[in-house]
C-alpha cells in the first residue's frame, strides 16, 4: 500500500512575493473583465474557478451577480418587508436560523449577529413568498447566510432568488426525490476513478446520505472556516449545478485510504465520511473536480444514476439533457480520444493517478486526468460546457 498522498496540502508555494504578484495580476484581470463592454463573463468564470477564486469579498460583490446573470437594477431594489405571522415557513426558518450560530464569524458581537439573523430570516421568507413553487429545506439557511455575510441583505436577496430558481431548484421541490436522484451521481463518479473504493462503499451499504448536507448547502453546513466556504461558492457559482456532487466525490476519493481502512459497515463508513476533514487541499480538489466533470460529464453518468433510482418515475431532466448535449459531449470525447492516443505513444507517468487502478484502461484515464490538472484547460472546458448547457438549463437567460 502506498502512503497517503498529501498532494497540494503542503506543497511549497513559490514564495510570498510570487503569490502577491499573482494576486495582483488576477485582481487586474478581474477588473478588466468587469469593465469590458459587454462584461467578460467567461473570464470572470475562469477567475472564479482558478486558484484562489475571487480573492476578496469586495470582488465577490461585483462578480457574483455577473456569474448569476442578475440584472444590475435588481440589486438596487429595496427589499420589501415580509409578513411573518401566518407564514407557513416562518417557524421552521426561525428554528434553523436561531441555531445557526456557528455560521457567524467567531467574536462577532451578539447584537450584530442577532441583527444579521433577522435579515437572514427576512431574505429567506421574501424569496419563498415571491416564488411559491419553492419549498424551504433545512440547510437552505446555510446557503443564504453565506450570501448575506459576503454581499449584504439587499444583494443577497437578488442573488439567492436567482440561485434558488436555478442551481438549487431541485432541492426545493415539494419532496426530496430529485435531490436523491442527484446524490445518485456520486457512486458512478467514484466508480470510474476508483472502483475499489466504490465496491467497498457498496459492500458497506453506506448509501449517499452522508453527502446530503454537502450537496444542499454547498458545504456551508460542514466547513467551519468561512474562507473555505466562499472559495467553494466562487467555484460552484461559476460551474454547472451538478458540480457540488463532483466535488463530493473528489473528497471521498481523496480519503481513499481512510475509507478502505474503515470497518466495512454502514454505520462506520457513514460516520467516517460525514466527518469532513477541515484541512482539505481545496485548490487541488477543485481542479480535480473540474477534471472529473470534463471526463465524466453528467450526461454520461445519467443512465447509471437513474439505475440507482429505486423509484421508477424520475422527473429529473437528465435524459432530456443527455439528448441535447450531443455536441459538447462528442467534442469532449473526441478530445479525450486524442489525448489517449497521444499518451499511448509516449511514456507519461500518471501524475494525477488517484489510486491503484485495476485496469489499464482506467490507468490511462487517470493519466489523462493528471495531465489536465494544469487547471487552465480544465477550467476552460468546464466553463464552455456550462455555457453550452446554458440554454437548456436556463442558467443564463
Amino acid at each position: 500500500m502506498e502512503k497517503p498522498r498529501r498532494d497540494g496540502a503542503s506543497s511549497p508555494r513559490n514564495g510570498r512575493q510570487d503569490g502577491d504578484t499573482r494576486r495582483k495580476r488576477k485582481t487586474a484581470d478581474i477588473s478588466q473583465a468587469l469593465s469590458a463592454n459587454p462584461v467578460d463573463v467567461a473570464t470572470l468564470r475562469r477567475m472564479a474557478i482558478s486558484e484562489g477564486g475571487l480573492l476578496t469579498d469586495e470582488i465577490r460583490c461585483q462578480v457574483w451577480p455577473r456569474l448569476l446573470n442578475v440584472a444590475p437594477h435588481l440589486l438596487d431594489q429595496d427589499p420589501e418587508t415580509v409578513e411573518r405571522e401566518n407564514n407557513k415557513d416562518y417557524n421552521q426558518v426561525l428554528l434553523d436560523v436561531q441555531r445557526s450560530l456557528r455560521r457567524f464569524p467567531p467574536g462577532m458581537p451578539d447584537e450584530q449577529r442577532e441583527g444579521l439573523q433577522e435579515e437572514l430570516i427576512d431574505i429567506i421568507l421574501r424569496v419563498l413568498k415571491r416564488n411559491p413553487q419553492l419549498h424551504y429545506y433545512q440547510g437552505y439557511h446555510d446557503i443564504v447566510v453565506t450570501f448575506l455575510l459576503v454581499v449584504g441583505e439587499r444583494m443577497a436577496t437578488a442573488l439567492v432568488e436567482k440561485l434558488s430558481t436555478h442551481h438549487l431548484r431541485d432541492f426545493m421541490d415539494p419532496t426530496m426525490d430529485n435531490t436523491k436522484h442527484i446524490l445518485n451521481y456520486l457512486m458512478p463518479i467514484i466508480e470510474r476513478v476508483n472502483p475499489e473504493v466504490h465496491d467497498f462503499m457498496q459492500q458497506a451499504e453506506v448509501g449517499t446520505v452522508f453527502a446530503l448536507s454537502w450537496l444542499i448547502t454547498w458545504f456551508g453546513h460542514v466547513l467551519s472556516d468561512f474562507r473555505h466556504v466562499v472559495r467553494l461558492y466562487d467555484f460552484f457559482l461559476a460551474c454547472h449545478p451538478l458540480m457540488p456532487i463532483y466535488f463530493a466525490a473528489v473528497i471521498v476519493l481523496h480519503r481513499e485510504e481512510e475509507v478502505l481502512e474503515c470497518e466495512c459497515d454502514m454505520a462506520m463508513v457513514h460516520h467516517l465520511l460525514s466527518q469532513i476533514p477541515q484541512d482539505l487541499p481545496y485548490e487541488t480538489l477543485i481542479s480535480r473536480a473540474g477534471d472529473l466533470f470534463v471526463q465524466f460529464p453528467p450526461s454520461e453518468l445519467a443512465r447509471e444514476a437513474a439505475a440507482h433510482e429505486s423509484m421508477a418515475a424520475s422527473t429529473f431532466k437528465d435524459f432530456e439533457l443527455a439528448s441535447t448535449q450531443q455536441r459538447p459531449d462528442s467534442v469532449l470525447r473526441r478530445r479525450r480520444r486524442q489525448k489517449q492516443a497521444a499518451l499511448e505513444s509516449s511514456t507519461v507517468s500518471p501524475v494525477g493517478a488517484v489510486s491503484q487502478p485495476s485496469t489499464a484502461r482506467r490507468f490511462m484515464r487517470l493519466a489523462v486526468m493528471g495531465l489536465t490538472v494544469a487547471l487552465g484547460a480544465a477550467a476552460l472546458a468546464v466553463v464552455n460546457t456550462a455555457l453550452e448547457w446554458a440554454p437548456k438549463l436556463d442558467l443564463f437567460p
Binding site: Q92, L95, D96, R99, S100, L101, R102, H135, Y137, Q138, G139, H141, P174, T175, M176, D177, T179, K180, Q203, E205, G207, V209, F210, L212, S213, I216, T217, H221, E261, C262, E263, C264, D265, A267, M268, H270, H271, L272, S274
Partner: protein, 238 residues
C-alpha cells in the same frame, strides 16, 4: 472508537456458523421526532456525557455511539439522529430504518404541536415495517423549562399507555442538577433502559454479519420479545 478489523468482515457466510468470536454487540437505536425537539441534544448528551454548546439543524442523518457495559458485557449503543423536517423523511431517512433494534420517539414538552405529531411518527415506523417486538419508548424533552410546559405528564402518559410505550420526561440540558424537576429522568438512564431491554431479548445479533447472509441480518423479525419488563407492559391492542 471504531473497530478496525476489516479482515473479519470478508469471511464467507459460513465462518460465522461456527462459534462466533467474542465481539461487541451493537444495539442500533433510531431517534425520531419533530424538528427542534432536541434529538441531537439528547443523543449528544448520552454519548458525550454533556449538553452540546451549539447544535444546528440536522441535515439527513447523524450518527453517534457509546460503549456501555451491561452485566459485564460491553455493548455498543448506536444512536441514529435523524432530521426532523418532514421533507427529509421519505427519501432520505428510509435507509436508516434497516435492522433497527429500538425506536426513541421524542417530543418537546413545551411545544404541544410536537406531541400532536407523534401519531405521524408512529405511522412512519409502521411504514418501515418495524415489528411490534422492536421496543419503542417515548421521551418528553426540555422539562427543565417548567414555566412553559404545554404537554402535561398525564396526557403524555395516557398516550404512551395507549401505544404500549414507557414514558420518560427529561431534559438534555440539566438532567443532573438537583431540584430543577423532581420527576426528571436522567438521559443516561433512559437509553440504558432501552439497552437493558434489548439485552434481555434473545437471540440478539452479533454486531455485523458477513454480507451475503441477508437472512440472518434481518434479525429483528425473529426476535422473540420477552415482554416481561413492566414498562413495556403487554398491550393487547399493539
Amino acid at each position: 472508537m471504531a473497530e478496525r478489523d476489516p479482515s473479519a468482515q470478508f469471511g464467507g457466510p459460513f465462518t460465522n456458523s461456527t462459534i462466533p468470536p467474542p465481539r461487541t454487540r451493537i444495539f442500533k437505536i433510531i431517534v425520531i421526532g419533530d424538528s427542534g425537539v432536541g434529538k441531537t441534544c439528547l443523543t449528544y448528551r448520552f454519548c458525550a456525557g454533556k449538553f452540546p454548546e451549539k447544535t444546528e439543524a440536522t441535515i439527513g442523518v447523524d450518527f453517534r455511539e457509546k460503549l456501555v457495559e451491561i452485566d459485564g458485557e460491553s455493548i455498543k449503543i448506536q444512536l441514529w439522529d435523524t432530521a426532523g423536517q418532514e421533507r427529509f423523511r421519505k427519501s432520505m431517512v428510509q435507509h436508516y430504518y434497516r435492522n433497527v433494534h429500538a425506536v426513541v420517539f421524542i417530543y418537546d414538552v413545551t411545544n404541544h404541536a410536537s406531541f400532536r405529531s407523534l401519531p405521524a411518527w408512529i405511522e412512519e415506523c409502521k411504514q418501515h415495517a418495524l415489528g411490534s417486538e422492536v421496543p419503542r419508548i417515548l421521551v418528553g424533552n426540555k422539562c427543565d423549562l417548567q414555566d412553559s410546559v404545554q404537554v402535561g405528564t398525564d396526557e403524555a402518559q395516557h398516550f404512551a399507555d395507549a401505544h404500549c410505550m414507557p414514558l420518560f420526561e427529561t431534559s438534555a440540558k440539566s438532567p443532573n442538577s438537583p431540584g430543577t424537576h423532581h420527576n426528571s429522568d436522567h438521559v443516561e438512564a433512559i437509553f440504558m433502559t432501552v439497552a437493558h431491554k434489548l439485552k434481555s431479548q434473545k437471540p440478539l445479533v452479533l454486531s455485523q454479519l458477513p454480507k451475503g447472509s441477508e437472512g440472518t441480518t434481518a434479525l429483528t423479525g425473529r426476535i422473540e420479545g420477552d415482554n416481561t419488563a413492566a414498562t413495556w407492559g403487554s398491550c393487547g391492542s399493539c
